[in-house]
Symmetry: C2
Subunit: 111 residues, 2 copies
DNA sequence: ACGATATACCTCATCTGTCAAGGTATTTTT
DNA sequence: AAAAATACCTTGACAGATGAGGTATATCGT
């Protein structure tokens, strides 16, 4: 099964921050890791990814730097900031709350 | 805690369909029920609600009719269609899948 | 050697769902 | 009589996702 984009909307930044908690990485690799972790059920479109990087950097959640120009195409690495870590912690709490609320509203589970 | 709108985006139609599975209802009541079920953590803005009704009716997921003009303001009742029930079943499966994927991506839970 | 594929970055116009703001009307509560 | 609750609806603006397009290098199969 694949998930529609609107379902994931609003989680984009959180997913990227969660990836960067495991260490600095660059766009292409981040996206590959996400697809693998989602077992192919989801992956960002490139435009979505780079839009998110720009937004996150403007908001001070991540910083970026060019990687060493070894073999291969140039890479822009991203690192999560302290503010980003704080945001991620808040986003994780919100996701747990979201699950409970949507279980109640969609599956009609009693709280 | 309250949930941001972008997090819920894409679940609006599903939430309304789930409510209508319990029986015909009208806008104001549907919204009240949703707020109660979410324990105040979430409620639709009216514009969002009526936009969704229009979209759902145009797509054949619900039908509507005016209620008896008893005491009180007029009410437009909505009923879920067979197509709507099919959609809801699919949406519920998608939500279960979404939880697994986002647990893996946000909380880094192993699948 | 050469074409295809993978790696790697980026922009912009367009689309869609949300919602602030505004409007109308009736009933109940203070 | 005023205020709040009930009940409906529309419109313009905004933000995130993305199709389509662009640039460049490295690797793989033949």
């Amino acid at each position: 099964m694949s998930l529609s984009a609107d379902i994931l909307r609003g989680h984009t930044d959180t997913i990227i921050l969660a990836q960067l908690m495991a260490g600095d990485s660059y766009g292409y690799e981040i996206n590959k890791n996400i697809s693998q972790r989602a077992q192919g059920a989801y992956g960002f479109k490139e435009a979505t990814l780079y839009t998110a990087f720009k937004r996150l950097e403007q908001n001070g959640m991540i910083t970026s730097y060019w990687g060493d120009d070894g073999p291969g195409a140039r890479r822009r690495y991203y690192a999560i900031t302290e503010a980003g870590m704080g945001q991620l912690a808040a986003d994780r709490r919100e996701w747990s709350e979201t699950k409970q609320v949507l279980d109640a509203l969609i599956l009609m589970k009693e709280g």
